[in-house]
């Protein structure tokens, strides 16, 4: 349908391309280029600044002198490697646990004959609209003994009713006939789920997994609230520490470069680039999953 629309549109515009519409198109292209540049130029400024020599004079697009010294000192810090490991581990383990739990619940709830389904859904809807907030959640995490534990990254985020609903709607669209022959052969629900449903649902699982993965990689609040042990800091928390320390120095009227010699501006920028690199590299290839995923969530609501 999209295609046919485009074709008819372009045919029509060939026939009767008024002067006004041409002006519209040109202005549109100029404005959209500008919009893209407003996003790109600041990001370029950060990336190129991280490669600037510390003696380079003030610049916007290109420094007078390039150097990789900032990256050398970032990667010489063993704490960074530790944090990268924690970030990668929390992302991978988090996605596996999240997908497993949300998809088994979604499969069971996709069966309309499931007893107690209304109660379960009601509970889930309540969780979408009400929450205990920061303090009661903190006290819960504390009493569960999850403070300063790696599992605080995984367990509280393991189940999401919203993601479960998206998967459930996807499972409902799988024809029952595909399951029936397995059922006649006496396969259990768990067996049907793993051998028939999961292979058919790879696109939906990939979408949910990607969103949760980005969330896990970017999440800093969990560490900020519940982790004080630096060995468990993810990249985002380490970066936050560097930024806030040098900001505090600047706000108190001290020269950041002198007081915190190791976390110079350049090192801070290199850490920013390293932290966002996985997203920058992977995002263009995965963009279509993110777009379809967003629409799945919105349309099926």
């Amino acid at each position: 349908m999209m295609l046919s629309k485009k074709q008819t549109k372009s045919n029509l515009s060939k026939v009767r391309k008024t002067k006004g519409n041409k002006v519209f198109d040109v202005v549109n292209v100029i404005l959209m280029t500008l919009f893209s540049l407003i996003i790109l130029i600041p990001m370029w400024n950060i990336v190129i600044s991280s490669f600037a020599d510390k003696n380079a004079t003030s610049f916007v697009f290109w420094p007078s002198k390039l150097s990789i010294a900032n990256y050398v000192s970032v990667f010489n810090d063993s704490g960074i490697w530790q944090s990268m490991f924690i970030s990668a581990a929390k992302t991978i383990v988090g996605v596996i646990f999240h997908l497993f739990l949300c998809s088994i619940v979604a499969y069971a709830l996709s069966k309309r004959r499931l007893r107690g389904r209304k109660l379960y859904s009601a509970m889930g809807i309540i969780t979408m609209f009400f929450s205990g907030g920061m303090i009661p959640t903190y006290l819960l995490i504390k009493s569960l003994g999850l403070l300063n534990s790696f599992w605080v990254y995984i367990l509280p985020a393991m189940f999401s009713y919203y993601d479960m609903v998206i998967l459930m709607n996807f499972f409902r669209d799988i024809p029952d006939s595909l399951e029936e022959s397995a059922k006649i052969d006496g396969a259990s629900d768990w067996k049907i789920f793993f051998s028939i449903i999961v292979p058919l649902s790879k696109p939906a699982l990939a979408t949910i997994g990607l969103f949760h993965g980005v969330w896990q990689w970017n999440d800093f609040m969990t560490a900020k609230l519940y982790i004080t042990n630096e060995a468990l800091y993810p990249m985002q928390m380490r970066l936050y520490d560097i930024i806030v320390k040098s900001q505090a120095a600047a706000a108190n009227g001290l020269n950041a470069q002198i007081t915190i010699a190791t976390s110079s501006k350049g090192v801070q920028l290199a850490t920013i680039v390293v932290t966002m690199l996985p997203i920058l590299v992977l995002y263009p290839f995965l963009q279509k999953y993110f777009v379809t995923g967003t629409m799945l969530g919105a349309v099926k609501e």
Partner: protein, 316 residues
């Protein structure tokens, strides 16, 4: 008497049937169970924990053992000038942000949709969606760099002939603009997605007919595209207005410093500071609960208003 016995019997057999079915479905039930346990632990126990707002909690006791104090915490809120300052900042920043983030994505989506050359359209979308996927810590670090005394903003201003060398992050007066506009920078592109999806479903014959009649592009957008998107626009309006009291804790924690704090402290960061830094758990819970209730009320009111405007159909 007789009929009641019958009813009892049928209720009894219904329960028995239900239990029998439940037992037969034990495999499916074992699939649901871990999800239910997770919700009870991580969602419902904290909701119960909201009772803290009406209690006086000390770190040495439990939520259950703490004495009730009624509305005392809420009365303290009314006289707390730091709280009202944080409300002012929250609403101020949100209002600027929500107005721009309500209109801009609609305009951007229409403009992206009207781009004729597919590869260019794709590139624009890829670039403008990107900032959505960066964390606030990364964006905060970038912002502080751009706004610093020899950063990009001053560099660009110098190119234009202004000679400014201040660190804008230390200027409390500019904080609202920095906080709201940086959020616009991050989310405006991503905000177009739902509008673009809706527009791709509009019947193309509408546009063909309009074009035959000699309607200009602007006229087509005004009379076809916007009315066709009215539902999703109303939905976004509801979400915007109900978000007036929401504050962005990630953003505030990374951008706030001792100089800009009077203009930067928002409700969330105030709850964080009072609760987790100063240890006044009951009071912080009361603040969180109060603001949560206001948000639900706002959501209900805006839903009612849009319902009235939208032929009595709820968009939520």
């Amino acid at each position: 008497m007789n009929s009641e016995a019958k009813r009892n019997k049928s209720v009894g057999s219904k329960v028995a049937n239900w239990c029998r079915d439940f037992g037969r479905q034990w495999q499916l039930q074992t699939m649901v169970l871990p999800g239910i346990i997770c919700m009870i632990i991580f969602n419902f126990i904290p909701i119960y924990g909201l009772t803290l707002a009406f209690k006086s909690y000390s770190v040495t006791s439990t939520i259950q053992d703490s004495p009730w104090v009624g509305m005392q915490n809420f009365q303290t809120i009314l006289q707390d000038k730091y709280f009202w300052q944080s409300v002012q900042n929250t609403v101020g920043i949100s209002a600027i942000k929500l107005v721009i983030e309500f209109f801009l994505p609609i305009i951007l989506a229409i403009m992206i949709f009207e781009l004729n050359w597919a590869p260019f359209k794709k590139v624009v979308q890829t670039i403008t969606y990107l900032p959505h996927f960066l964390s606030w810590i990364i964006l905060g670090g970038m912002l502080i760099t751009w706004m610093s005394s020899n950063g990009m903003l001053n560099g660009l201003l110098n190119m234009l002939g202004f000679n400014i060398h201040t660190n804008h992050m230390l200027n409390a007066g500019g904080y609202w603009s920095i906080a709201s506009l940086s959020d616009v920078w991050k989310e405006a592109g991503w905000g177009t997605i739902l509008y673009l999806a809706t527009m791709s479903k509009i019947d193309p014959t509408y546009y063909e007919a309009a074009e035959m009649d000699g309607a200009s592009k602007i006229r087509q957008i005004w009379s076809i595209t916007i009315p066709e998107m009215s539902n999703i626009i109303a939905l976004n309006l509801i979400l915007s207005v109900s978000g007036l009291f929401n504050s962005n804790l990630d953003q505030t924690l990374v951008l706030m410093n001792s100089q800009n704090q009077p203009k930067a402290e928002v409700i969330n960061s105030y709850v964080y500071r009072v609760g987790l830094t100063q240890g006044d758990f009951s009071y912080a819970t009361a603040v969180g609960l109060g603001v949560g209730i206001i948000s639900v009320v706002l959501l209900t009111i805006t839903n009612l208003v849009t319902k009235k405007l939208n032929d009595n159909q709820s968009v939520l």
